[in-house]
Amino acid sequence: MTTPTGLGHHASEDDPRIMLDGQIGQYEQVPPYPPRTEREAEFYSLRDGEMFLNMGPQHPSTHGVLRVVLKINGENVVDLDPVLGYLHRGVEKLCENSDYHHVISQIDPLEYVSSLFMEWAPVMSFEQLLDVKVPRRAEYIRVLTGELLRVASHVLFQGWMALDLGGLAPILYSFIERDEIVEMLAALTGQRMLFNYFRIGGVNGDLNHEFMSRLGDWMSRALVQHEANIGLLNENEIFVRRMRDIGRLDGETAKRMGVSGPNIRAAGVPFDVRRAHPYSVYPELEFDIPVRGTGPAGGDSLDRYLLRLDEVRESIRIIDQCLHNMPDGPVMARLPRLMRPRPGRAWAAVESPRGLFGTYVISDGTDQPFRMKIHDPSFVHLQLVGMLMKNNLIADTMAVMASLDPVMGGIDK
């Protein structure tokens, strides 16, 4: 038995107690099998002065259980290879094996930060399969709660961003902010995090007094609080210098990489599903699509960060309009208990806080979807990391990764 490092074995290598000491000094081959693809062969070969650094699956700044293998040369990241699957639980298979109502509760823990959007897309695609018309009040409630959750998600993003750069305070301010919204939604939906609120043909319950009073209380100071909180970071020299010119992404590349959501808008492409392919009652609402990084070089991490702050303001605008335009009426369409849509296919996409979230459903006439494909934006965005990160420093890994705002629950499905 020879070792790659050439470390000799101890004389007492037969002794089981001492074996461990002898083996620990050796480096295992990485990965422990011959490379399977061209890319793997390229990545797992080291040049002089390079080494691998295994970041994760348990690492404070990988937003869940992501493992990133960094190939570093000193502090420089030469290349990196994200390794997924630590949170994979086969949601698509579970959805194929549960009936249409169950799918909603199967799918909303996917992206636990903005779980209403995870319910929205499947519910919309099922409604297409069943040809259901959703009452207008239900649509307005969906938009209202969705935008609230978008604010919560973006605010939380701001905190994570700062935490990954080493700032302690913003994450707690974000959580306080998010907690208010989440408690508010709990008063409406009954749950704090995984709401399970949208139903096929409407929503689970009408707006109640508890929710409305909390919402009014929050709306009266939402913008002020938001501006105060971002004052901590937006002008902070250290923060701005660390974010600027890191991870530039231009519009053309973003389109080719399949990017969506705030990340593509921060690269100068005004692609927002709410406007690009309107759904629900968004055509009736007035709001702007903030765009940054319109120059030829595209947008950097700072643009992506600032764009989300802009979106918070737009979301508050939408919430305000929803409250003013909220029609009366039922919140659920009249539907049979047992859903057996005719065989067919449907695709529905919503603009989640992270981008285009879509579901593609095939029905075979039974009460379970035959195939349920979930498209999660974080999954696509994470593959950008390899492109944006090359030849930056280790510290920038966090700045770039956090600015793309991936959530591992959605990535690993």
Binding site: P31, Y33, R36, T37, E38, R39, E40, L84, G85, H88, G90, E92, K93, E96, N97, Q128, K255, R256, M257, G258, V259, S260, F271, A276, H277, P343, G344, R345, A346, W347, A349, L356, G358, Y360, I362, D364, T366, Q368, F370, R371, K373, H375, F379, V380, L382, Q383, D412, K413
Partner: protein
Amino acid sequence: MDRSLKARLEARLADHLAGPIRQRHDQTEIRIRPADLLEVMRTLHDDPDFDFTIIADLAGVDTGTTMQVVYHLWSAKTTDWLRIIAEGMPREDPRIPSLTGLWPGAEWMERETYDMFGIIFEGNRDLRRIYMPPDYASFPLRKDFYLPDDSARSPGGGARHVEQPNAPVVTSTRAPRRTVRG
């Protein structure tokens, strides 16, 4: 529904279509053969009439008898989502050209589809498993893959009809439970 899109698609891609163009709600659906995929996609992407620049989704489908790969595209020129179904791949050895030349971002989507269905995307330079461990042998989203039997131990003791007791983890000889037409 965008009727003009249907007309344009029929005019431009007539000899590639493997079935009728269907339109329902806000979706237009075309069916092509896997071999034509790259040409069709390039036309859709580059032709200023279509200008489908954004790929929204890439999904594999196991119909029980054949394999399909389904793409969803978006364009500013139409109000519809365009769904392209590359159909008719044999289940034993499904192969389709990779889209990474056109959309590099499709790389991971293709990896995922490979991981779940075993569809081989020719030209993808990093086609390894993405979710499952590298030494995993079967493809979980295929219709002949049954969930491992935990029904006997599940509370209530009731076997759900979807969980087949003592089903082998993967056998290609076993007939799929359900199939869907085309």
